[in-house]
């Protein structure tokens, strides 16, 4: 039995330690906001926060996440940065199909927590692990910049 701290709640799973966290979240806990895209940490759709760091849950063994704080997209309304990022996404109508956007937002929140005013280069570096097939990259960039301004207290 593994104890997990998911979105501030204690959960337990009997999944084997090597099973990726993604499938525990999705198939056992029905936390389906975290998406499956590639299974090889190539697309970022499965991004969650482990100890505040953006990680790819599709390759993270659940055993390695035991008893450490895991946060998923479902928690971001309760996260100060997360809430602002989500609102910026809505205000700029970022999503097209929307499937990758949970992962994009989780990476963006992690980026803004380490780099509150990210440069274009920092956005490239922080976000290039997250693929979007619909091509919403320019709006994602704009939404990160908008969220950054709002978090800094600007009204924009």
């Amino acid at each position: 039995m593994t104890t997990l701290k998911i979105n501030e709640q204690m959960r337990s799973t009997s999944a084997p330690d090597e099973m990726p966290l993604l499938w525990v979240l999705r198939d056992e806990l029905s936390l389906t906001g975290t998406k499956f895209g590639c299974g090889m940490a190539l697309c970022g759709a499965c991004t969650v926060h482990l100890n505040g760091q953006a990680i790819r849950s599709c390759l993270t063994p659940v055993g390695s996440a035991a008893e450490q704080p895991v946060h998923t997209i479902e928690h971001m309304q309760s996260d100060k940065v997360g809430r602002v990022v989500q609102q910026a996404w809505v205000d700029l109508n970022v999503a097209q199909c929307g499937y990758c956007q949970a992962g994009q937002i989780m990476s963006a929140v992690a980026l803004l927590k380490t780099s509150p005013k990210p440069s274009d280069r920092q956005i490239d570096d922080g976000m290039s692990g997250n693929l979007c097939r619909c091509g919403t990259y320019p709006r994602i960039r704009a939404a990160i910049q908008l969220a950054s301004r709002r978090l800094a207290g600007d009204k924009a």
């Binding site: 999944a15 084997p16 099973m19 990726p20 499938w23 999705r26 198939d27 056992e28 029905s30 936390l31 389906t32 906001g33 975290t34 998406k35 499956f36 895209g37 590639c38 299974g39 090889m40 190539l42 697309c43 759709a45 998923t72 997209i73 479902e74 971001m76 309304q77 989500q86 996404w89 809505v90 109508n93 970022v94 999503a95 097209q96 199909c97 929307g98 499937y99 990758c100 956007q101 949970a102 937002i105 274009d120 956005i123 490239d124 570096d125 976000m127 290039s128 692990g129 997250n130 693929l131 979007c132 097939r133 619909c134 091509g135 919403t136 990259y137 320019p138 709006r139 994602i140 960039r141």
Partner: protein, 763 residues
């Protein structure tokens, strides 16, 4: 929301919705003229339905519920069409909720979200739905007050009696409105475009935006049903292959694995049938994958085992050297070219490889079979085809199959082929009472797609002394999509040659378009903008090459080739396709084409002095009865490092129903067009796809994406019939990029993707 719940909600809604507008009528069906040839929506299965009682219901509290009958794959249609209804009926958008229709074309009209047709075909019917509902609300209020209906008008969720100032909310009128006669089609009074509140404004936030950003939207991948189990399938690596043996005992030993189910291979044409293979069912997706890994299946590869991309490219290159089947002929292009002196002749071959759609959500479907039939929850572009496929395969009556349509994590044409839905139904059929979610991994998606056809296009021209072409020969060689439906088919369909080959509208006196026939050895499928991709890449590259040969500015040259503004009947160009639209209603208007070219050029400030290593490239296309032009600015470094600095894209799609989503489609088309131009390629060896995931099937990432994409909406004439939006942004992007690379470096890219061709050139 749990789709099991939403399904129940939907059933209740459908019953409830019958109450407010429970009137039987046949507006659109009765009004259709029985002509010899049908165009547009009338040529599609299910046609259109303009009945308010099918699409609109009003609750006592005033909540207006509007049915979205077309699936959402990212175009915004789930917002746009209900928004049209809301606008015409004067409903307030913040009082509207949208529910998704299950598969039922007899009830809702055509549901196949494909071919950039949703707004094109349903703008007018949805306007009539909303307007008819408004008139019924007005009639109900007039009856309540005992006043002439001419004295009342609906506005913003209320009906007002102007002389007395009395007003009633929509909720208060719902029951009586439902008892009013539905206005006959010729009595429906549409709003004047000047009175639209939402249409054309682009101020409406997407209906799913908030749920998506919170991880609460339900995609096909997210269906959750009580007691659900999970399946993955080992499929034959070569199309047409058969399972010889598999170690099912080893798979069943994997903890969590419950069952293995053999899936029969398709018979006859592939169509949308499963490829066959063996499914492993488990308590979770990961256990199913582990079980599959233990199967060690052996295959009989069948007739496509020798398919090899390098050899096939050679075959295509040979094929275009000889005359092919003629699809268009004006004058005598081969003779004029043959007699022209060498310095007046130009020829070039252009190549576009197979492509995979690679939707971010791989194909997925959940199925439950019980004594009542089969219920499906899935992301599909083509719900009715999914339903029909399941019914035929399980030998059920269509009425005993229900297909619930969840959000699609991308479509691009892949999810109009519901092979994965039938797979899920077959596995569920082997375990009645247990819901089965059948997931494709990314490997599955890349290995077992319906690929964009590998294309080789040969262009030849003879030019006049002024540098403009006197003769134009276009010979294309690509496996046909019709091979999906007729095994062994080689001849092109009109919908392939009619995408920017036979219907090229340039002012050239001698034109021949030919097809050299080659065979298909994998499943060919339509991919966002389909045959326009190779044809526009080839023709727009060739025009830029001709301009260079003539030492003329590519923009001026392109406009000269386009000739004077005129409306061309596409049938005079041998195009019997014209995207299935009437040649009378949808002529090819070179004036509209010129306007988008000029808008894109203006946006990019064409002709300005550029920094060293920079270049501008132009391309344009008529596709899906819309007009697009793109200018790309690139910077190429000394070692061939390619940066896309900016993209300017102009589009004239006629009426701009939801301009904000139109711009989103243009931005997305620019990025996806650059992906295929710069990075993406599927190749086969021994009949097997050689790529497997995003490390070797590459698509654009943030850092490669242009930071500047300027979108220019041109035209917008609301008197015109609407054009497509989803696909038209794609075709001009690749040639605009390679034309820009040529302008920057003098290096002509004739084979996609660009990948490392520039660094090779510089070493």
């Amino acid at each position: 929301m749990n789709p099991a719940d939403s399904s129940l909600v939907r059933r209740r809604f459908l019953q409830a919705s019958a109450a407010p507008f429970a009137l039987v009528m046949g507006l659109d069906a009765a009004a259709q003229d029985a002509g010899p040839k049908k165009y547009g929506a009338d040529s599609m299965s299910g046609g259109t339905v303009g009945r308010p009682e099918v699409f609109v219901s009003i609750a006592g509290d005033g909540t207006v519920t509007i049915v979205a009958h077309r699936a959402e794959m990212g175009t915004g249609v789930r917002t746009t069409l209900p928004m049209v209804v809301a606008d015409e009926m004067e409903a307030r958008w913040d009082r509207v909720q949208v529910v998704q229709a299950p598969a039922d074309e007899a009830r809702y009209g055509n549901q196949n979200v494909d071919g950039s047709r949703s707004v094109r075909h349903f703008f007018a019917p949805m306007r009539r739905v909303g307007a008819a509902a408004r008139q019924m609300l007005e009639a109900a209020a007039a009856a309540r007050w005992g006043v002439p209906v001419g004295e009342v008008r609906a506005a913003q969720h209320e009906v007002l009696h102007t002389p007395s100032g009395r007003r009633l909310g929509f909720g208060e009128l719902a029951v009586e409105a439902a008892k009013q006669p539905v206005p006959a089609r010729d009595q429906v009074q549409l709003k004047k475009p000047a009175d639209w509140r939402y249409i054309g404004k682009g101020k409406t936030t997407g209906i799913d935006q908030a749920a998506i950003t919170r991880g609460q939207a339900t995609f096909g991948m997210d269906a959750v049903l009580p007691g659900m189990v999970f399946a993955v399938v080992a499929r034959p690596p070569v199309v047409g292959g058969k399972l010889k043996q598999a170690d099912t005992a080893a798979a069943l030993k994997v903890p969590g694995v419950i069952k293995v189910v053999e899936i029969p291979g398709f018979q006859g044409a592939p169509v949308f049938q499963p490829l066959g293979g063996i499914a492993v069912v488990a308590r979770n997706t990961w256990a199913a994958m582990q079980g599959r890994a233990a199967l060690n299946p052996q295959w009989d590869d069948g007739p496509n085992a020798s398919y090899d991309s390098a050899a096939f490219r050679h075959e295509q290159a040979q094929a275009v050297k000889s005359p092919g089947t003629v699809y268009r002929n004006n004058g005598d292009a081969p003779r004029v070219i043959g007699e022209a002196p060498g310095e007046r002749r130009l020829s070039a071959d252009y190549f576009v490889p197979h492509l995979a759609h690679a939707t971010m959500e791989p194909p997925v479907a959940t199925a439950l079979v019980n004594d009542q039939g089969c219920e499906i929850w899935t992301s599909t572009q083509n719900p009715q085809a999914a339903l029909d496929g399941v019914a035929a395969t399980l030998k059920l009556k269509p009425a005993h199959v229900k297909v619930n349509v969840l959000l699609l994590g991308g479509g691009f044409g892949r999810k109009s082929k519901p092979d994965y839905v039938t797979e899920a139904a077959l596995v569920a059929n082997a375990m009645p009472g247990t819901p089965v979610k059948l997931v494709w991994t990314r490997d599955d998606d890349i290995h077992h797609g319906y690929y964009h056809a590998v294309s080789l296009d040969h262009l030849e021209a003879a030019v006049k002394p002024d540098g403009l072409p006197e003769a134009w020969l276009h010979r294309t060689a690509a496996p046909t999509i019709t091979s999906l439906f007729a095994p062994g088919a080689k001849a092109a369909a009109p919908f392939e040659t009619g995408m920017s080959a036979t219907n090229m509208p340039f002012a050239v006196p001698n034109v021949r378009v030919e097809r050299a026939e080659v065979s298909a050895h994998a499943r060919m499928g339509w991919f966002r903008s389909v045959a326009n991709i190779p044809h526009v890449f080839a023709t727009q590259s060739f025009i830029a090459e001709l301009a260079h040969r003539a030492k003329q500015d590519p923009l001026k040259y392109a406009l000269a080739m386009l000739g004077p503004d005129r409306k061309i009947d596409p049938t005079t160009l041998s195009d019997v396709f014209n995207y299935s639209e009437s040649p009378v209603d949808y002529p090819i208007d070179t004036g509209r084409m010129r306007a988008v070219i000029e808008a894109a050029a203006r946006g990019a400030r064409w002709g300005r002095k550029l920094p060293k290593g920079h270049g501008l490239g132009l391309a344009f296309a008529y596709s899906f009865v819309s007009y697009t032009a793109t200018v790309v600015e690139v910077a190429v470094g000394r070692k061939g490092e390619l940066t896309v600095v900016a993209v300017d894209m102009a589009l004239d799609c006629g009426p701009q129903v939801n301009p904000e989503r139109i711009r989103a489609q243009m931005e997305g088309g620019a990025v996806m067009g650059l992906s295929l131009a710069m990075s993406s390629e599927i190749t086969f060896e021994n009949g097997r796809v050689q790529q497997s995931n995003f490390h070797d099937y590459q698509v654009l990432r943030h850092a490669q994406s242009p930071r500047i994409i300027r979108t220019h909406l041109v035209g917008g004439d609301t008197r015109l019939p609407p054009g497509g939006v989803g696909e038209p942004p794609m075709p001009p992007v690749a040639p605009a990029l390679t034309n820009a690379i040529f302008a920057a470096t003098g290096k002509r890219i004739r084979s996609l993707p660009v990948r490392d061709q520039l660094s090779q050139a510089s070493t």
